[in-house]
């Protein structure tokens, strides 16, 4: 517990009242500092997150996940002394143990960025349609960013303070996942990938990215 006192978990939160309390409670078993960026939720997400002990920063109106992520980064840089920030999805598909291992990896190998990747091992069970969408996104991201990643749209990342300062997301919607890779790559700081297990529950499947969303992501990236 004490060894993660320099780490803040940033959770973009939008209408996840059903699961957010469990996600926050789960994170608190390892990490003391959890901030949820509420992106104008219309359900009881804020109460659930605060009830579970998370700090909640509220967007007055819905802006998109990219905007929430940027607000979280700004918050950690301006109002905490954190050395590492971890971006973590609110829908419960990430594992706290993976986040813990990634922070350890960043510390031990002196890395500025650790990207989670669900394709480095066989733990993650993704359907073929999702696989195609994600692989296409990876390909497009690698084309534009110059980094060679195996997984692009993975919300689990560890970002060291100096690397976080180089992030300024302009894409409010889903294309931010590629934009953040691009901007972290531009900092020229050392990075690595780490295998993570993404758990596709019925809940996360019902909220996940569809094939049509991949079209939106590509169009957003091309017509910046």
């Amino acid at each position: 517990m004490a060894s993660f006192d320099d780490t803040w978990i940033v959770v973009p939160l939008y209408n996840e009242a059903a699961v957010i309390a469990d996600v926050v409670a789960d994170l608190h078993t390892t990490f003391a500092h959890v901030v949820c960026i509420d992106d104008g939720s219309t359900d009881a997400s804020i109460e659930a997150a605060e009830g579970a002990g998370a700090l909640v920063v509220r967007h007055a109106t819905n802006l998109g996940q990219g905007a929430a992520l940027q607000t979280g980064i700004d918050f950690v840089l301006a109002q905490t002394a954190a050395r590492y920030l971890v971006t973590f999805d609110a829908d419960g598909q990430h594992q706290v143990a993976d986040a813990e291992a990634m922070v350890r990896k960043a510390r031990e190998e002196d890395l500025a960025v650790v990207f989670g990747s669900r394709f480095l091992d066989e733990r993650t069970k993704a359907g073929w349609a999702k696989r195609i969408v994600l692989k296409t996104a990876v390909w497009a991201t690698n084309q534009t960013t110059g980094l060679r990643l195996t997984d692009a749209h993975n919300g689990l990342r560890v970002i060291r303070r100096d690397a976080a300062a180089g992030v300024s997301l302009k894409q409010n919607r889903m294309a931010h996942a590629s934009e953040i890779v691009l901007q972290l790559g531009r900092t020229r700081l050392p990075w690595a990938e780490h295998p993570v297990h993404v758990l596709y529950t019925d809940y996360s499947k019902s909220k996940g990215q569809s094939l049509l969303n991949a079209v939106n992501i590509l169009v957003d990236l091309v017509f910046r």
């Binding site: 006192d5 608190h28 003391a32 500092h33 959890v34 960026i37 804020i46 109460e47 605060e50 009830g51 579970a52 002990g53 998370a54 700090l55 909640v56 920063v57 509220r58 967007h59 007055a60 109106t61 802006l63 905007a67 940027q70 607000t71 700004d74 918050f75 301006a78 109002q79 905490t80 002394a81 954190a82 302009k170 409010n172």
Partner: protein, 166 residues
């Protein structure tokens, strides 16, 4: 020149005059406004000329290879419409960016106030006063959210000047 024609001419001229005045009054920075006013004056003159001497339009159309003056107008209208879409899209993007920045600034300021305001609500003036790692996350969770936001909103100077000693 028959009488019906004079009526439509008067109507059209009035319309052009009204639009010109409305557009001239809109505010923008000085240089853009000057350019816009010059263009507007030109527009008013050309339009008035086209209304008073309809044959001019046809003659211009013929010289650029268009059959009728109305066709020429249609083409110009399409160009004007497309440029309107382009400028409006750019302006909308700018507005979106400003809303994002405004919302973010508001969210971060609220968070700062709430965290600085914690000691007053929990009668613990020292220790938790700094926004940063000093504030225990457990304390944030215990707090009743409704009362804290209601307290922070009406009196922002309180937490800014320093936590209450009571």
């Amino acid at each position: 020149m028959n009488e019906e024609k004079i009526w439509i001419q008067v109507l059209l001229l009035l319309g052009v005059a009204v639009v010109t005045v409305l557009l001239t009054r809109s505010t923008a920075d000085a240089r853009h406004q000057a350019v816009r006013r010059v263009l507007l004056a030109l527009f008013a003159l050309v339009t008035a000329a086209a209304i008073l001497f309809p044959t001019i339009l046809s003659r211009i159309a013929h010289t650029v290879g268009v059959n009728r003056g109305t066709d020429l107008l249609l083409y110009l209208l399409v160009i004007a419409f497309l440029s309107f879409i382009a400028t409006t899209y750019r302006r909308m993007k700018g507005t979106d960016r400003r809303i994002t920045e405004l919302t973010r600034e508001l969210a971060l300021t609220e968070a700062r106030l709430e965290r600085a305001g914690l000691p007053t609500a929990h009668q613990e003036p020292d220790g938790a006063a700094h926004p940063g790692l000093a504030s225990p996350p457990a304390a944030a969770g215990e707090q009743a959210d409704a009362s804290s936001s209601a307290e922070a909103a009406p009196e922002p100077p309180g937490p800014v000047q320093g936590p209450d000693a009571s």
